[in-house]
Amino acid sequence: MKLKVSQMGLLLSVALILSYIESVIPFNFGIPGMKLGLPNLAVVLTLYLFGWKEALLINLTRILLSGFMFGNMAGILFSLAGAAVSFLSMLAARKTGIFDLCGVSICGGVTHNIGQILIAVYVVRTAGIMYYLPVLLIAGVITGALNGMIAMRTEPYLKKMQRRA
């Protein structure tokens, strides 16, 4: 129990640091306010270590905290849209049993960007900005794969700690 709390705390701080990093990296593929989706690393790790409820908790907490610390209301809206779509897709992708952690993370990365462009389309009510979708899909694959590969390397160590405790 104690270990779970400390691991969750660690994952939340990783998520917050990554939220900060993505808030200072300009990710300008035409859609303002978009984020790369780096904190998904912590979310996907939590999902595999503890389960969907814990992952959801980490996800929501980091969106709200980082939104108030390094962003604004519009930023929170974007993060929420991206995170919600991405989270549900990752749960679904994991449930199918077709993918490993890395594949699930790629699904998360891609759908994160789809969610964000959809909210932008909704805000400006102009479907024409979907023009930027292909670039965003590729960016999503890259971030997702990167997150997935790091998470896959990290997960065994955190698991080992759990077994030892």
């Binding site: 303002p32 519009a74 490993d100 890395c102 932008a120 400006v124 102009t126 024409g128 794969a145």
Partner: protein
């Protein structure tokens, strides 16, 4: 790695490859690298004005709640010169000139979109 692990890893790899291939094909079709001829101003998705990209000028676009964006059209391209939005992302976007490109000002619900020349007359009548 067990056989099952390998299969799952390959599934992710194939997914990534599929999405990238699909996007690249989509890009090859969509991004024709064609210079646009008109710039259309859309507020809340409604086209409120359009300008010829070949005519140099600076216009002020007024949106709801006192929003103001100053658009400069110069030598076939355009850029947001000034704006009173909180984030100024639209100003940082820089110049655009290709068909399909846009500058978005989310706070003002404003999209500046570059279009080709074909529909010019039709739109002019509507306007």
């Amino acid at each position: 790695m067990t056989e099952n692990d390998k299969r799952k890893w390959r599934a992710g790899f194939v997914l990534a490859l599929l999405i990238i291939t699909f996007s690249l094909i989509f890009m090859a079709v969509l991004y024709q690298r064609q210079d646009g001829q008109r710039v259309v101003i859309l507020i809340d998705g409604k086209a409120t004005a359009e300008y010829d990209l070949s005519v140099n000028r600076t216009v002020t676009i007024r949106t709801a709640d006192g929003g103001e964006n100053v658009l400069t059209i110069q030598d076939g391209s355009c850029y947001m010169k000034e704006a009173n939005c909180p984030d100024h992302i639209c100003v940082r976007e820089g110049h655009i000139h290709r068909k399909g490109q846009s500058i978005i000002c989310l706070p003002h619900h404003l999209v500046i979109q570059i279009e080709g020349g074909k529909e010019a007359e039709v739109d002019a009548v509507v306007r």
